[in-house]
Symmetry: C2
Subunit: 585 residues, 2 copies
Amino acid sequence: MYRTHNCGELRLENLHAKVKLAGWMHKSRDLGGMTFIDIRDRYGKTQLVFNMDSNKDLCEKARKLGREFVIQIEGKVVERSAKNADMATGDIEIEVESLELLNASKTPPFTIEDDTDGGEELRMKYRYLDIRRGKVRNALVLRHHVALEVRKYLSNLNFIEVETPVLIKSTPEGARDFVVPSRMNPGMFYALPQSPQTFKQLLMVGGMDKYFQIVKCFRDEDLRADRQPEFTQIDCEMAFIEQEDILAVFEGLTRHLLKEINGVEVAEFPRMTYAEAMKKYGNDKPDIRFGMEFGELNDIAQHKDFSVFNQAELVVAIAVPNAGEFTRKEIDALVDWVKRPQIGALGMVYVKCNEDGSFKSSVDKFYDQTDLAAWAERTGAKPGDLICVLSGAANKVRAQLSALRMELATRLGLRKPNEFAPLWVLDFPLLEWDEETQRFHAMHHPFTSPKKEDMALLDSNPGAVRANAYDLVLNGNEIGGGSIRIHDKATQALMFKHLGFSDEEARTQFGFLMDAFEFGAPPHGGLAFGLDRLVAILGGQETIRDFIAFPKNNAGRDLMIDTPSVLHEEQLQELAIQVIGPKQV
Amino acid sequence: MYRTHNCGELRLENLHAKVKLAGWMHKSRDLGGMTFIDIRDRYGKTQLVFNMDSNKDLCEKARKLGREFVIQIEGKVVERSAKNADMATGDIEIEVESLELLNASKTPPFTIEDDTDGGEELRMKYRYLDIRRGKVRNALVLRHHVALEVRKYLSNLNFIEVETPVLIKSTPEGARDFVVPSRMNPGMFYALPQSPQTFKQLLMVGGMDKYFQIVKCFRDEDLRADRQPEFTQIDCEMAFIEQEDILAVFEGLTRHLLKEINGVEVAEFPRMTYAEAMKKYGNDKPDIRFGMEFGELNDIAQHKDFSVFNQAELVVAIAVPNAGEFTRKEIDALVDWVKRPQIGALGMVYVKCNEDGSFKSSVDKFYDQTDLAAWAERTGAKPGDLICVLSGAANKVRAQLSALRMELATRLGLRKPNEFAPLWVLDFPLLEWDEETQRFHAMHHPFTSPKKEDMALLDSNPGAVRANAYDLVLNGNEIGGGSIRIHDKATQALMFKHLGFSDEEARTQFGFLMDAFEFGAPPHGGLAFGLDRLVAILGGQETIRDFIAFPKNNAGRDLMIDTPSVLHEEQLQELAIQVIGPKQV
């Protein structure tokens, strides 16, 4: 037996016990006649004491141990004279009686501390050392607990976890598929699933009633920051349900996680329509932990002499709390910030709300104090606040002001990681106009059902048709989304027509699902949560990388195992493929 | 709300309740003025009653429903006059007051019954209908319960489930990899993991201490019967442990599953060395639910006048219980069976053990009653048994007799699906001679540690070196296996040398793992269970296909979604690959 206890569990209750520990040499201090070593494992650290007087050989052996050496010791638990309240085992230490070196270590390329000196690339290359750091280890442990709680919760509600296949069929719709050449079927390919969407719908047709799966999904996209080519979803589907049934289950699940994982009790989740979210926050995933709601100023700011506003489709503003003190330099920087190409505003009008109730704006030439007071009222600005006004085409200016709102909230510390504000966003549009192809696309997917009362608009005003589609938003992040699906042939045919599919195209792409729908498909709907992001948010972070054991970088590379990589020529031949163009080696 | 109850839960306690049910029209019977319909969902069936006298329109509507139509009804729970004890809801029925057709169905291509009329191909093509059958549905539900119990059990023991990547690096060792071209890195490829072996060892180096994962693995093999290109493992690894620690955990897990899933209490698992298993059963995964242990007859059957035995390396026999009554025709068929090319024996000698204590054999010319009595004693044959004797090269004849033993046990009903006999097989050989390449290969993998006491044999007799490797066998199936790994550089270098790796080769193939081992690798070891097979055996079956929601056929094809399939030319171009040779369309 390598150990009687782990390095995180000994307490005063264990006093005088003879114990065996194994772990890594974390830190060593020589104090004259004594040597103190912190031994570390996944569970914590324990202080070891070696005494030159009582055992010189042993103490000298201990002094030769380098950082991250793997050791095993036997000794006696004694009370510390100087207790360490920051350490779970800080009341005790081990008087070591024997020490065995289990393995040596080269000096690690960065320190194994929460606050390490290693850069991101280096830590990715030596991810196995990075995982020894408490921060990363705790993130992975948190992920485990979240996944387990999800499974327990849904299983208790009679959901069945069903594994759907990873080697499936490529479909031209949506994002790009990763594909897998089939050696047994030369010239043919599997694809990796972007989601188990069709399979979960088939499981509903198959009568599984309540399905879930925590499952890897794959998208071959150009990776934006904080995206991964492989990611994990909590995927769910239910039959014989209405939208309210689904919201109830997943609100319950989210509340359960917040309570179990974060110890936070959250009241009933607020709800907002997509239209309302866009109007109030310029965003379909608003962070509602803080105010700064949009105030539309068209009626009170247009038709004065300020042509910029007069020509704009929308004039819209937010009141930034306690930002009235911003210096001219700070405000200029803010104007530059919104004019960056990533944001794309042409300029920004601002109003300082002075403590004395007066206003000072960048457009004093065109607007008097009464005008500005009306703006303050519309945006809810208080003395001491700063009103920021953008104008332009409605869609664009809303997105710009939303970006500014989030940026300022971050700068002002209003996005508190330990505060949780979930929100349902409902009634998403069914269709989305695509400029490139000049036609409507399904906003969610072609199986999303339109709202019955909007069906009549399909011909006259397709963009106004709302879907039975919903997103769960947490702290300004889309945690998940889903919809009630179409389950009857007539509505499905209508949808395909409106999406510009010929019968032939619909057949080729979705034939097996359409066939299945002819054999008694029940009403059904579902939802998928992004596990990586959910875990990151529950862990108080917004980047997902530390919550993934072995992430890839933005070029889709695993720096540790150094892949993707070239294949042997014979391997390609067996697969009946060859590489076009110059091969990278 | 679509339903107040599911179709499996109403009982006499619910009498007079007004209920709403939804499900599939399973079966319909018209009895004069009454129509009875069984409505079915995942949870069961409930009988609905329609009465021509009380509501003619409704009853006529009900009579028009076809098989698998999706319906919703409201009605009152009443007591049945003729109760059905075979049905959980058999005490009650529903007097239907309203009926809504939610969806029609074409006539399904096979009956939705446990005992269906559909052939395998047809059921694979319409898998979503096959899943409606109780047998398949229950298999998937069982799989869910097993996976959940595994997760709970291991989590309670402080194991952490960590997701390892699916897009990894191709290694030339072992079975063939499935590969994935990288669009972002033209000419380069990911590979799908055959197992997370290296990652779990890196997690041990990373200090995760106790890891598990229920994870999809991929092998591009020519599919033998009952193999799948994607399969699921319960993968585990532990640090600071010895072999006994691992056996204890996974014996505990298996015992827990047998109890929770099957209600069976199993005593401490017996153990057997590999050598013993081969000698006693000719097989490293013996089914020990029945006897028929091998008796070696060399000393008592050779050096008579029977040259076949005299020339054989091994003469070995089993006693088949109560098979002494086999007719000459049956025995001839058995001889033909062992002579089939799949088995490859040259012949079979038999001895009938008569009830009167005498013997009648096919070699009476060479052996007298005393000789045959010695054979009976050696094989444990009793009056009424049949002794089957094979001879030849030891390895081959053991495999042949093992096949015969299993075949006869199956025929005689000795392999009872509800009886569970787990067995640890220990001390597997470290190396395995490969005829094709004329060198030793690692039997498990190159990181398996040799037994310390056998290290000296590495040079003199490599084939005799035993490894710290173990398999768990259940009812004649290998459920899982694992080993204690090498964790120090010196032993690893020695192993690579004996496996014929140059330093360069070792570096190229296992560089990142060898690097990791230099930074304080702890002693570690692990094990992996095959979930598909484990679930099938717990479900009392030996074929895995019904325990996989969407299996592939022996050509690696999914008949339902019809894949693998050809890709668009543009898709291939984007991936910088092209297909060699004629394309199948």
